[in-house]
């Protein structure tokens, strides 16, 4: 995360490849399920053996004896509808919820989060020298309407640009845009790769999760 500060985002997941290296973010939406982005995976038919979801830790290289770290193997990958660029990852065993690991709510189906809603992005990605390397960073952002965010599709959403460089970067993709609504944090967007990292005066772009809630619930129900 460019800009931002270390923070607490207990639904943000670190996806680890077979070498144990962090490569993307994700969000815990159910004790058995994570949502991330398709771009982080080579194939919808990928054999997920060896891939893991790490949660409950604030550091990208947690100590081996970190008591709160949970490393859970990924057992299945499901690709979303073609234009969604979403994937759902099934965990081999349920995550244990505690003060460091929590679920994030899904938005109501087809819900359009209002302009001006307060949101956060979180991840262990590149900071572009803005400090707190290798720690889970959080940046506060505000929703921008699609009308004012030019050239975005209906299944995408934006956050307002800031004067100081702030936003998602390499390694944050797949992570959450969490917005605070009705006393709960809701997964309104998924961070997707875009040109530049947290460029000043440029809006951030995300996949709009509410468009795919029916698919998400269907995958969870059927699998």
């Amino acid at each position: 995360i460019v800009g931002g500060i270390p923070g607490n985002s207990p639904w943000t997941i670190s996806l680890r490849n077979r070498d144990g290296i962090h490569f993307c973010g994700g969000s815990l939406v159910d004790v058995n399920w994570i949502i991330s982005t398709r771009q982080c995976f080579t194939s919808c038919d990928l054999d997920p053996q060896g891939y893991e979801a790490w949660m409950g830790t604030l550091f990208i290289k947690p100590q081996a004896n970190d008591p709160q770290k949970q490393a859970i193997p990924i057992s299945k990958i499901f690709c979303g509808p073609a234009e969604s660029y979403l994937v759902m990852l099934k965990l081999a065993r349920p995550a244990e919820l505690n003060s460091r690991v929590a679920l994030i709510c899904l938005p109501p189906e087809k819900y359009i989060v209002p302009e001006g809603t307060s949101c956060e992005i979180a991840g262990w990605g590149d900071t572009r020298g803005t400090g707190y390397e290798n720690q889970l960073k959080v940046a506060k952002l505000t929703v921008l309407s699609n009308k004012d965010c030019k050239r975005v599709k209906e299944n995408e959403m934006c956050t307002q640009p800031l004067h100081a460089p702030t936003g998602a970067c390499e390694g944050d993709y797949g992570g959450p845009l969490a917005c605070f609504t009705h006393d709960c944090w809701v997964l309104e967007g998924v961070i997707i790769p875009s040109r530049g990292c947290g460029k000043a005066n440029q809006p951030g772009m995300y996949i709009r999760v509410s468009m795919y809630v029916d698919w998400i619930q269907k995958v969870m129900k059927m699998n």
Binding site: I5, P6, G7, N8, S9, P10, N17, R18, D19, G20, F23, V29, Q39, C40, F41, T42, S43, C44, D45, D47, Q49, G50, K76, F78, P81, A82, S99, R100, A102, L103, I104, C105, L106, P108, E109, K110, Y111, I112, D126, E154, C169, E170, Y173, A178, H182, D183, C184, W185, P193, S194, R195, G196, C197, M211, Y212, D214, W215, K218, M222, N223
Partner: protein, 461 residues
Amino acid sequence: QSSPLNKYQCSKGVQLMYRSHEVHTVRTQAATNRVDCASLCSALSDCRAFNFNWQAQSCQLLAWTEHSANTDTQQNAYNNLCQKKDYIRNCFVGKGENYRGTKSVTKSGITCQHWKSKFPQDHRHSMTPTNGLEENYCRNPDGDEIGPWCYTIKENIRHEDCGIKKCDVDVCVTCNGEDYRGFVDYTKSGRECQRWDLQSPHKHHYQPEKYPDKGLNDNYCRNPDGSVHPWCYTTDPNVEREHCNIQKCTEKHRLRNVEFTTKCFKKHGVGYRGTVNTTTSGIPCQRWDSQTPHNHNFLPENYECKGLEENYCRNPDGSEAPWCFTTLPAMRVAFCLQIKRCPEDIEAEDCYHGNGKSYNGKVAKTRKGITCQKWTDETPHKSEFNPKAYPEADLQENYCRNPDGDSHGPWCYTMDPNTKFDYCAIKPCAGDLKPSIIENPEKIEFDECGKRSDRMDNRAR
């Protein structure tokens, strides 16, 4: 620190059985692991293989292998079958004195004479419990430099070598040997390789079950990490890993089974040969033939088939996508995820209106080309949507339908046991506008999700 298991080639979930009703000696002994079984089997001159049943904690010591007559392998989730390499490999190590394969024809195609026969060739070799002179199989009882040989049944040709290859030339290496699946199990300095499924003497993360596509069988040389050559961890506690000396193929250095693309990338992007040269966020890539700002081993001359030209995004090590070393000293590598993926879905065969709830066509395959399951069938997937429960949904045969009003179009249960349902090879009809999604629910209520303790947040700060 060689393991007794190093002499064996093992398969998980398989059991070797003797098919015939003849009485055959099978000794069963208690054992807690495969290594114990291997020690027991190696101590017996007539033991060639063993079944280790981890549920029963016992091993069956067998006097035959899967290459013997009247044997069958069958699946058994609780069993590991381990067979002595000398009896299984089609190549030989050293001079081949230990070769115990079943080839019985010389290199020019003449049938071998049985070792116990003295006609047409009279000879002094006779079978002992250890020299393996059984049947008319090729053997090397006298340590001939050429390898296994036999006496022939042609009177005028007394003996001939069998043309069996040494293991280090039997399967050659193309490119940097990531697809090498041969049987060399020692390094260039002659050290024995450590089994990939053991963590001693060297602890490592290349467990075979984590890397199912890397062929990490037994203790054979492999290249799971995109090194310059196949390698292995050694059984020498002082030498962690070493390259193996395996003959290079003489054919043009090409990657096998890789399709080259330039405008987009497929799967891991190992075949991407386009000219994108910045990372996802726009950082210029470092040239592959440069060592600044980052030192690295991916030198173009060592990876001739990986297309490491200029500073283009490439995937020489089988990572998740094309990547490069960046020109920022603080950022070593980054993916080039802005390169588009080549379309993976098959071509749409029909179109639907709205959300496809009224679709009544006959397309019966998913966007990935998998055949749909009949709506009335219960295998491979149990069907919640069937014609009886949803008579109005027109659930005929295995045709794509949308009985639940899925906003992403018609779908079906699939014949792939790993994919319960998927969307179909059908696209929205041209000019057919999808209904707008904009809706504002009046009341939102959430259960337990989306809560956190912000006290911890302050403490972290």
